[in-house]
Amino acid sequence: MTEKRDIEIDFGQVHTERMRLNVGPQHPSTHGVLRLEVELEGEIVTDVVPHIGYLHRCFEKYCENSTYVQVVPYIDRLDYIASMSNEIPYALGIEKLMGIQVSERIQAIRTVLAELNRIASHQIAVATFGMDAGAFTPFLYLFRDRELILDVFERLSGGRLLYNYIRPGGLMRDIYPTFVSDVLAIVKQVRETNKEVQNLLIDNKIFIERTINIGILPADVAINFGCSGPTLRGSGVDYDLRRAEPYLLYDKFDFEVCVGKGLMGTLGDSYDRNIVRMWEMEESCKIIEQAVKLIPDASEDVRASIPKKIAPKGEIYTKAENPKGELGFYIVADGKNKPYRLKGRSPSFSNLSVLPYISKGYMIADLIIILGSIDIVLGEIDR
């Protein structure tokens, strides 16, 4: 059982030195191109300095040189695991600036897609977290279920990973006839697989021993560092944008906000952050079942409210609850057809800045577990 160790060790007459090593940028378990400069005392970590910027793709410069509709594919590529959730705050912000009202059917479809994306993203998070701890089988089970969700998205929009589907003012095209029955079949399969993964991974004694009391994040530190999403809720703070400032029909549904309780170890450790994701998958299934009742059978023209010319004037900070946390866009518009400035506030940027604070005193293998439990995506950190 691992525990936090004292960094200042007295070695007596023996002369020792601390060692600096690089983890990454190419490493099988750093979830992308991230370089961690680690200072070690034997096997115990005394300091971690993250270096980012290996995937800086000039997103904000592109937004200043493209029209409002041409920006949407670049927004997809921010958090490439859950692309539909990225497009939602942008579409809602432009609609508010231009004063466009969208029909309830379109909002219900957008809610269903956002929750499906939440399930898909948490599946990858739990699968790679299990792989970091050494378990390979849940990876195969969860990726098989993710293929069902990607099949639905491919029939809707034509792409498996990057969709360009939710536009300001509506959607790209209408849903196909058997959409609702496909989605309900997915919900049934996700619940069954979650029971299997619970048995295999979450209730496994070795997994529990590896993840409890590792990387404890107190609640006030998490708020001060600007964390959001399961990283913040795993420390016991009850803040979810779907409840605090509801958007997109979330005030009509009955669901719970999942907050870590410190069941197995201390409140705010890696086990709590992971179990919050497992519980959120179940809550998403509940929301989907309620939301599909609001999609009437009759089809409509989903492109009816899309404006012919988008040239708003104003400023707005729009936000939404992504699977990883709070994604915000600060849009500054000056009346032309291209944005003047579009700043993306990504959740993983603030979540990763907590890492040097919570990983001092643990071993290298625990550092990988902490990094996996924070669940970062380098595409949105470096933008």
């Binding site: 940028p25 099988p28 910027g53 800086h56 793709r57 410069k61 990726f143 498996r160």
Partner: protein, 201 residues
Amino acid sequence: MGLLDKLDKPFEYAGPDIVLGTIEDLLNWGRAKSDWYMSFGLACCAIEFMAVNAAHFDLMRFGAIPRPSPRQSDFIIISGTVTLKMAERVKRLYEQMAEPKYVMSMGSCANSGGPYWEHGYHVLKGVDRVIPVDVYVPGCPPRPEAFLEGMVRLQEKISKQEIFRKRQKFSKEDLQAIEDRKKAMDEHFAKYLELQNKLKG
């Protein structure tokens, strides 16, 4: 062309169990069907690549196993955008691999800069500006089936490579003389067959 295609036509003068081929065929068959790659996922294409590795589209049935270290791998898959900060590290990793090594460039960003070609001040427009590439797989991100086709093309390329005659360099006159000799032998054999048929009646 390969060794296993000749199993249907055994060498008929000696019996049904003998197949004639070259040692090069045998070695290329072993090299092409069990190449191990280094896992190097950079951006969105890496997620598609993880999906290819999982159970639905299985990559291990092609004989490819992920290795974490460049010194133990046969080829490297560059999946995702290569930025200027990362380009020097890619070159260093490529130089650490042992010969014979191959490179597969997956996705539009690694082929030529992708959607970031115009205003991207920090994006390297194509990974072939730092390392030589063997197979390009287009798409943004490429479908898993496209990726598997790229794998098959790489296997075909490996199985056509020459191992033994690489060091011998023939001059132009020598090559012309070999061609003339081959033609002369074919004509001679054709005349012999004609004579045989005439004698049989």
